[in-house]
Amino acid sequence: MSPLPPGDGDEEPLDDLLRPLDEGSGPARRLSRKRSSALVQAALDAALQPVAPAPPSRRRKRPPVWLMAGAALVFTGAAAAAVWRFSASRPATPVVLTPHVPEPTRIATLEPVSLPSPPAPFVIEHPRPARPVPATREQARPEDLLRQANALRSEGKWTEAEGLYLRVIRAQPSSLAAYVARVASGALRLEHLGDARGALRQFQDAQRSQPGGMLDPEARHGEAEAYRALGDTAAEARALDAFIALHPDSPLGATARSRLRELSPR
């Protein structure tokens, strides 16, 4: 192991406490081969996908001048005709006139003036294409949405992140991204959104969608936590039992066992 970098006048050793980085075990938690492989696969999937096209610019491409001019003419003509038609075709409302003289009252009715028949109606075609923005948003890849959701979560924008997680789940319910989104959504609901019942549903859905998946410890422990938040101690104990049986080496195991002891009848 090499000594400290020379030449900076700061060579007090600390090798007994901190050692140079290597591929050995620790200080990161141990990770099973299965989870390591899943993590690498997910990273590869995200990294090797073709880069999504840049979001459409706010400034749309203008249609040709001749088309704009024609459209303006058509629109103006149509608008004028519509105004004219509206005003011309409105049926004349009978007007009641009350004379000042106390003579027998006469009601004068003004007859509608006959007008030339209105022109044929215009069919106005909108010169611009349909707005593409909603479609593009819906077509965003789940992995991209997941990344955006994680970023929002990192910024503390819980509700917005939750919205994106739900979009990921809706987009491809059986995908790995949806599985991750379910667990993330469950944690968000439990920790930040005060929705323990929704969290419970998400954790359970995650377990059903990928039994024994790479986030199974988190999903199972989250399920127990959700039951705890709901005050269902019997279900919480069952969930903790299952969690400890399936993941005895999990870093959460110690707290799970401790909690289970609290719940056990003395």
Binding site: L18, P20, L21, G26, P27, A28
Partner: protein
């Protein structure tokens, strides 16, 4: 290095970055080079194999840099993605592990900057030092590292990063000063204070689990 710049550095800027003596732990040089070349060309199998080998190093470095375990996998995954996307920019004229470490550090710092304020959620749970299976590495080494990183969790972020960059990645004070954009003497001061604090914590057996 700008902490918020997630773009992997080019190898030319990394040639002076030290690397640990871990090269002996990986495959022989020729095979390693062939796999690396294949990965740089975008071959999935080679890239996957490379990432699987790098993953422990990546995760360990991330854990050294951040408090608690909860975000390690997220950051490690972001780092792997950055590595894959940055591979074509690696020109082979610097040490590969040095380049990898730099990408991971950048990704981690960028993540920390984005998530500023979240560290308050860290609860300092002592957990898994109670029982450690020894399937891949000596348990005592694992426990030692877990103990040390638990002590690091109790230092300030600035002292922690200075200690990790200096003692774990073996960067010089000057390099750290340049990379972090802080004065040379500030780095020295952080190192001095960080070492003192870490030694005090270790001597007191004041780790969360009371010593490994």
């Amino acid at each position: 290095m700008s902490p918020d710049d997630p773009i992997p550095p080019r190898a030319s800027s990394l040639s002076d970055m030290r690397s640990s003596g871990s090269h002996a732990t990986v495959a022989p040089r020729a095979a390693e080079d062939a796999r690396l070349a294949a990965a740089m060309q975008g071959q999935r199998d080679a890239t996957e194999s490379l990432l699987l080998d790098l993953l422990p190093r990546v995760r360990n470095l991330v854990r050294y840099l951040v408090r608690g375990d909860s975000d390690v996998e997220d950051i490690a995954q972001e780092s792997l993605i950055a590595l894959v996307r940055g591979l074509p920019t690696y020109r082979g004229d610097g040490r590969f592990h040095g380049w990898v470490d730099r990408v991971v550090v950048r990704t981690t710092f960028a993540w920390l900057k984005r998530s500023r304020g979240r560290e308050a959620r860290y609860s300092g749970d002592p957990v898994e030092l109670l029982a450690v299976p020894s399937d891949e590495a000596p348990a005592d080494e694992y426990v030692h590292r877990r103990h040390m990183v638990a002590l690091l969790d109790r230092l300030s972020t600035e002292q922690r990063h200075a200690l990790v960059l200096h003692h774990v990645l073996e960067l010089s004070v000057q390099e750290i000063s340049t990379e972090l954009g802080v004065p040379f003497e500030t780095v020295r001061s952080r190192l001095r204070l960080g070492r003192t604090a870490l030694r005090a914590l270790a001597a007191d057996g004041d780790g969360p689990e009371g010593g490994a």
